[in-house]
């Protein structure tokens, strides 16, 4: 067949184009093969590597010349699996993501992900396959790290679980113990002879024991959870609610008459835990019997004192008349005896008067008559009345007056004079000759009160007896020997008078060095209010 010139020209151009295309394809494939980061080798149907790319060379360390012509399994640890894979690939055509261990030329083992893809010619016949390898060292490392972390975390969790179990056991034991303690406490509370009321921080009643129920003749079911204001609705509880007030004020041993023959002593105790105040405990102590005994005793003392005072007064005036010569002249010896009898009778009258004062105080009949006075004048008056006695005993009295004038205090003058007399009398009686007594007054503007102080250089009070100094009939063991006179009632009466005026009385003392007694009196209207209450 003849080919004309034009057709030949066309065929030449086509050939040239095909050649150019082939060259372009070659450059492209070369570049693609060099750049491809995935390590690929071509294996022929006989299971021989016939080509590798640059990435394969980099990963395995084998150059083309070294690996081409060899079987793929030589570069893997799992040789049998690779051989089996070669057999399977003709059926499966594509196998992806198998994990294998590559052995490099330097005998280094690298974990790889292996994929195999079959090759076919234009007629669809099997002509070999590609093996692609990707290094999964980092993935494996991360996986191992992750697994390590998971193992570590699992262990931690297991440890935590064990610890938690131990804690739960401990908590269980603690709960059982707490339950036991609670039961014990409840038993104690239930069987306590004192009544107990527990209020929470919001002043709602949390607990009431049977004794308290009995005191107020109520049932705890009706009271629990109620606020103090709501308790006001119970008539039996009204006296207590009035005493406690809305916010439950601090109370110490306050007497409360619930009904006839039932007097209780109320004290409140704040309940404080680590978290702070959790509520208030109200303790109700039945003092009915003590009060009855006390009343009977007071009545007896009062009766006895009154009965005794009359004959003592008669004796006093008879002795006075004898001493004054109303019944004729008496000898010196007779006078001495009668004078001694007179002084003893006087002491007895004073004692009886003191006893009567005490009974009046205890019966609440110690009536006060308030009047505005200058305390400085009152002290000065008492001090002057003792001047002769002080000189006689060779003592020195210093009354430190203030430069500024003290505000007046509203007091029962007679009673306060008695207090000052008692303090000064004690100081004189128990300070040895040559000693010094100092009196001073102070005005405390902030507290709105006047403070009285009397200091002596006397015998002092033994430390172990200081707690009883303001109780009835108390006399220090070290001073009984010094002076036989003294009823032991003066300080008791004085303290009661001061407190009845809204003041305070206290002392400081050291045995052998002397004592300092103090009292305060409020100024202004406080006293009036106190008198009303009294």
């Amino acid at each position: 067949m003849e080919i004309d010139k034009k057709e030949l020209q066309f065929l030449k151009k086509e050939l040239q184009r095909a050649k150019q295309d082939l060259e372009d394809l070659e450059i492209y494939l070369e570049g693609f093969f060099s750049f491809l980061p995935l390590a690929v080798c071509t294996v022929n149907p006989g299971g021989i590597i016939i080509d590798i790319n640059k990435a394969f060379q980099t990963l395995t360390g084998y150059k083309s010349i070294e690996i081409v012509g060899k079987a793929p399994e030589v570069i893997f640890s799992e040789k049998k699996e690779i051989v089996r894979l070669e057999k399977e690939i003709t059926k499966k055509e594509v196998i992806r993501g198998l994990e294998a261990t590559l052995i490099t030329k330097e005998k280094k083992k690298i974990p790889v992900s292996l994929s195999v893809s079959i090759r076919k010619d234009e007629e669809g016949s099997f002509i070999g396959y590609f093996i692609a390898l990707s290094d999964i060292t980092e993935i494996k490392k991360s996986q191992e790290e992750l697994e390590g972390k998971v193992r570590e975390r699992t262990k931690e969790l297991e440890d935590s679980r064990k610890a938690l179990m131990n804690m739960l056991e401990d908590v269980g034991e603690a709960r059982a113990k707490a339950e036991e303690e609670k039961n014990k406490t409840l038993t104690i509370i239930t069987n306590l002879t004192d009544g107990l009321l527990v209020f929470d921080i919001n002043n709602k009643i949390l607990l009431i024991n049977p004794q308290a129920e009995a005191f107020f003749n109520t049932k705890k079911e009706d009271m629990l959870g109620k606020s103090i204001l709501e308790l006001n609705g119970f008539s039996n509880l009204k006296p207590l609610v009035d005493l406690l007030k809305k916010e439950i004020r601090g109370i110490f041993r306050k007497e409360l008459s619930i009904r006839e023959n039932l007097i209780i002593e109320v004290s409140t105790v704040p309940m404080v835990s680590k978290e702070g105040e959790t509520g208030t405990l109200v303790v109700l102590h039945d003092i009915s019997r003590e009060k009855t005994v006390e009343r009977i005793k007071t009545e007896f003392v009062s009766l006895a004192a009154h009965q005794l005072r009359t004959p003592l007064s008669a004796i006093k005036w008879t002795l006075r008349m004898l001493l004054d010569g109303d019944f004729g002249e008496i000898t010196k010896e007779q006078r001495d005896f009668i004078e001694k009898t007179y002084r003893s009778n006087e002491r007895m009258i004073i004692l009886i008067n003191d006893l009567l004062d005490v009974t009046r105080i205890e019966e609440g009949r110690y009536v006060y008559r308030p009047a505005l006075v200058n305390l400085e004048d009152l002290v000065q008056f008492v001090a002057n009345s003792y001047k002769e006695e002080i000189d006689k005993r060779n003592l020195k009295l210093e009354f430190k007056t203030l430069k500024t004038k003290l505000p007046q205090v509203e007091v029962d003058v007679e009673k306060i004079r008695l207090v000052i007399q008692n303090f000064l009398d004690n100081a004189i009686r128990y300070t040895p000759p040559g000693g010094k007594i100092t009196i001073s007054l102070k005005y405390n503007k902030d507290k709105k009160e006047v403070e009285f102080l009397i200091k002596d250089t006397g015998a002092g009070i033994p430390r172990e007896q200081q707690g009883r100094i303001f109780t009835k009939f108390f006399r220090g063991a070290n001073v009984i020997r010094m002076a036989t006179e003294g009823s032991g009632l003066g300080l008791f009466i004085s303290k009661n008078i001061i407190e009845a005026h809204g003041g305070r009385a206290w002392f400081e003392s050291k045995e052998g060095e002397g004592s300092t007694f103090y009292f305060t009196l409020p100024i202004g209207k406080e006293f009036e209010e106190l008198i009303k209450e009294f």
């Binding site: 060259e23 070659e26 149907p45 299971g47």
Partner: protein, 203 residues
């Protein structure tokens, strides 16, 4: 063949050699030199070729383009001379060539089995050379050998070890795994034979 100087007359004679060869063979030469002597080795080779007025820029060679066969012979001779290589090294070079060759990659589909490779060997030759023919003369599975005959190809004896190595690699591609393969050039036109004959055996 011993190393010898490439005289200008020899160069002239070789450039006049008829026939062409695919650029792929220059590329495989260059790859092997780089493999053995590094990039500097290739630069040295190019410089030596320039000295004899046969400059070859190996990087610009196209695998599928056709180049003068004489130039390829000069390339081989200069490699042997420049690096003082023996025929054995040239055989190794031939053996390595298929591993680098783009043409070989295209021909992979023929390397399916010893029989198929044997059968298609003439095609393979035609893809590389415009002169000469490779005859698949004999294949014996029983004797475990095949014989290739290269006819009408009397170009230069340096190609004898090169092709020996080359055909050996082809056998490695297809012969049973783990088998021991050997190849010999049993006949050579430069030894008075009418053609080149290569016998490949495997055990």
């Amino acid at each position: 063949m011993a190393n010898s100087e490439i005289s200008p007359s020899e160069v002239k004679r070789l450039t006049e050699t008829t026939g062409k060869v695919r650029g792929a063979v220059f590329q495989t030469d260059a790859e092997y030199v780089k493999e053995k002597k590094g990039k500097a080795g290739l630069i040295l080779l190019e410089r030596e070729l320039k000295k004899i007025n046969c400059p070859i820029n190996y990087e610009s060679i196209k695998a599928t383009a056709w180049y003068p066969l004489g130039l390829r012979i000069i390339s081989l001779l200069m490699i042997k001379k420049a690096f003082n290589w023996t025929d054995k090294e040239i055989e190794k070079m031939g053996n390595a060539a298929p591993a680098y060759s783009f043409i070989v990659r295209m021909l992979m589909k023929y390397f399916l089995s010893p029989q198929r490779t044997f059968k298609e060997s003439s095609k393979y030759w035609e893809k590389h050379y415009t002169i000469g023919s490779l005859e698949a003369y004999k294949y014996s599975k029983e004797k475990e050998e095949y014989i290739l005959r290269l006819k009408d190809f009397k170009v230069h004896p340096i190609l004898c070890p090169y092709l020996t190595g080359y055909f050996f690699r082809m056998g490695q591609y297809v012969l049973p795994k783990g088998g021991k393969i050997s190849i010999t050039e049993s006949k050579c036109v430069f030894k008075g034979d009418p053609f080149h004959e290569f016998i490949m055996r495997w055990r």
